[in-house]
């Protein structure tokens, strides 16, 4: 399946990665090549086969629903590019 530049632009937007307009055609060509490779999967008969959800038959481990950690505000914020007054700081979200 050939991916056009509009689709490439939409995917970049969904992925929240800025791609300049002049880079879109090359990106679309790469997507097309990779998706072309993936399309081999259409040759497989998958009728009646359930999509795999877990590679090992075990159930996911569940712990007791109790508080085991917390009260570590300084550690949580220590790596933030911008933290103020005990919060993560971001540019204005709502106009």
């Amino acid at each position: 399946m050939a991916i056009d530049t509009e689709t490439a632009r939409r995917v970049a937007k969904l992925a929240r990665i800025r791609v300049e307009d002049d880079a879109l055609p090359a990106l679309a060509a790469e997507f097309s090549a990779i998706l072309g490779f993936i399309e081999q999967l259409n040759a497989v008969d998958v009728d009646g086969v359930e999509p795999m959800t877990s590679v090992t038959p075990q159930r996911l481990f569940r712990r007791d629903d109790v508080v085991t950690d917390g009260d570590r505000q300084a550690a949580v914020l220590a790596n933030a590019p911008d933290a103020r007054e005990g919060f993560f700081a971001v540019p204005k979200v709502v106009e």
Binding site: I3, T7, A8, V11, A12, L14, A15, R16, I17, R18, V19, L27, E30, F31, A33, I34, L35, F37, I38, E39, Q40, L41, N42, A43, V44, V46, V49, E50, P51, M52, T53, S54, V55, T56, Q58, L60, F61, R62, R63, R72, A75, V76, A78, N79, A80, P81, D82, F88, V90, P91, K92, V93
Partner: protein, 494 residues
């Protein structure tokens, strides 16, 4: 006292430390010196000599007291993908520049509790996405093996780990393997690397790439060392919900070298069109060695093999696009400088465009596409169905009595850095053609050095085992290792 680090093993050092023939402080200093002399390999990207010296001192106290664990005092390198408290842990990405974890991964916690010494963090492909260590923000790691003036790739994504072990810069290293990232670099550098069964080793504190495929494992000089180190890394961890609550056997004790009566499968689909003659010969030689050791050789079929790579290149990017959504410039790592009037969307988009390299961006976007409305069923669900069939192929041969499967580890020996720069991404993806099935099926797989190609570069063979039977798998690998007698070492040029 000077130790020749290129010939020392974890087992040998363990025994010497216990006898008191050398101290961890001496051993650690020897490795720190070797690391400082090997900057040309660009394997260690964050050196931690102060931590190493203090851990070595503590290890020497423990050794004196007696009953120290196997890894007590053993100097190791840690892949940059593992979070290490207070030490840079960047997954070789610009987007995690300056990130200093406030916590320690379960694997490194277990290694340090066992007395291991951390020499530093090791180079890798960005977010473990690559097969040549050329997508790293730190620059390429370089293979200690060479045949002419060209610099060769150590493979990837655990390229720094492979280069460091092969060059004698550490006794062992942690690696991670999502599609072949332990086994392919091990093969390219003449060392041993095992990816255990999915769920054997905790993923907690390991930067996630594709959560249903990622497993950590050891990269070492030989099979015995892999057994020793794997035991220390393994075990149930309540912090990883996919970690298996199973006892961890003494893998080293499984190394008897006796494989008489074991059934070794040779999958016909792995004999690819255009397979280089020397890879085919290596595989035939390995088959003969196992037969001579008393194993029964059986031709088997894994009919969905050819669909493994395309299924992988749906599933892995899909999971990556979800896992890497967390890098948004808010909680950790890089944030782009914003222009006046930029809002939060511009912050996300600029931060991720600056912070992620080209291959990581490509995979995130492919993953976003295959998960997007209208394509989810056609791509993602179809790939997961094919994955179920790939696993069924293995289940069938194991149910028929096959104990382990022998294949080549890689389609070629190490190639030159930069040589694949203009190739399309799919050509690079073909490096994982023999290894990726194992991740999709959640099985243990090991790469063992088995010979040299015509140029004199190492080649590896892969053994694939039954789930949770790493001990048996390591024993077959041990038998192969003894028969192959691979002793070649890279000439020191760095």
């Amino acid at each position: 006292m000077m130790t020749d680090t290129t010939n020392l093993t974890i087992a040998g050092a363990r025994d010497a430390l216990r006898r008191g023939d050398l101290t961890s402080a001496e051993l650690t200093q020897t490795y720190l010196t070797a690391i400082d002399a090997a900057d040309a390999l660009n394997a260690f990207v964050h050196k931690t000599p102060e931590i190493a010296k203090s851990q070595a001192e503590a290890a020497d106290q423990r050794l004196k007291a007696g009953n120290a664990p196997d890894l007590c005092g053993i100097p190791l390198g840690i892949k940059d993908l593992f979070c290490t408290k207070g030490v840079p842990s960047q997954a070789a990405s610009r987007i995690l520049e300056g990130f200093l974890p406030e916590y320690e991964s379960t694997v490194t916690t277990q290694l340090f509790d066992a007395g291991a010494v951390m020499l530093g963090k090791l180079n890798m492909d960005e977010f473990a996405m690559g097969s040549s260590n050329e997508t790293s923000v730190y620059g390429d790691a370089v293979n200690p093996w060479r045949v002419d003036d060209r610099k060769l790739t150590p493979g990837g994504s655990s390229g720094g780990s492979a280069a460091a072990v092969a060059a004698g810069l550490c006794l062992g290293a942690t690696g991670t393997d999502t599609g072949g990232s332990i086994r392919q670099p091990a093969a390219f550098t003449g060392i041993t690397g095992i990816k255990p069964t999915y769920g054997r080793v905790s993923r907690w504190g390991v930067v996630a790439f594709a959560s249903s495929l990622d497993q950590a494992g050891p990269m070492t000089r030989d099979v015995r060392d892999a057994a020793i180190m794997l035991r220390a890394m393994s075990g149930f961890d309540p912090k990883d919900s996919t970690s298996a609550d199973l006892p961890v056997p003494d893998f080293e004790a499984a190394l008897t070298g006796d494989i008489r009566g074991k059934v070794i499968g040779i999958p016909r689909e792995y004999r690819m069109d255009g397979m280089p003659a020397e890879i085919g010969k290596l595989w035939d030689d390995g088959t003969a060695m196992l037969r001579d050791a008393g194993a029964e050789i059986r031709d088997i079929s894994l009919p969905h093999t050819q669909y493994a790579l395309p299924a992988y290149y749906v599933i892995a990017p899909a999971e990556a696009s979800s896992n890497l959504a967390r890098y948004d410039g808010v909680r950790f790592g890089h944030r782009a400088t914003l222009a006046p009037g930029d809002g939060i969307t511009e912050m996300y988009e600029k931060t991720r465009a600056e912070g992620f390299g080209a291959e990581v961006q490509r995979r995130i976007m492919v993953g976003t596409y295959v998960l997007s409305a209208g394509f989810y069923d056609a791509y993602y669900n179809r790939a997961r169905r094919v994955r179920a069939l790939i696993k069924r192929d293995f289940d069938t041969v194991f149910a028929d009595g096959v104990d382990a499967i022998l294949t080549p580890a890689t389609p070629s020996a190490a190639f030159g850095l930069g040589e694949m720069a203009d190739a399309d991404p799919i050509k690079m993806y073909l490096n994982d053609v023999f290894t990726v099935t194992v991740n999709l099926a959640g099985l243990p797989g090991i790469s063992v050095p088995a010979g040299l190609d015509a140029q004199g570069l190492p080649l590896g063979l892969q053994l694939i085992g039954r789930p949770w039977e790493e001990g048996d798998l390591l024993n077959v690998a041990y038998s192969l290792e003894r028969a192959a007698g691979f002793v070649a070492k890279p000439d020191r040029w760095w």
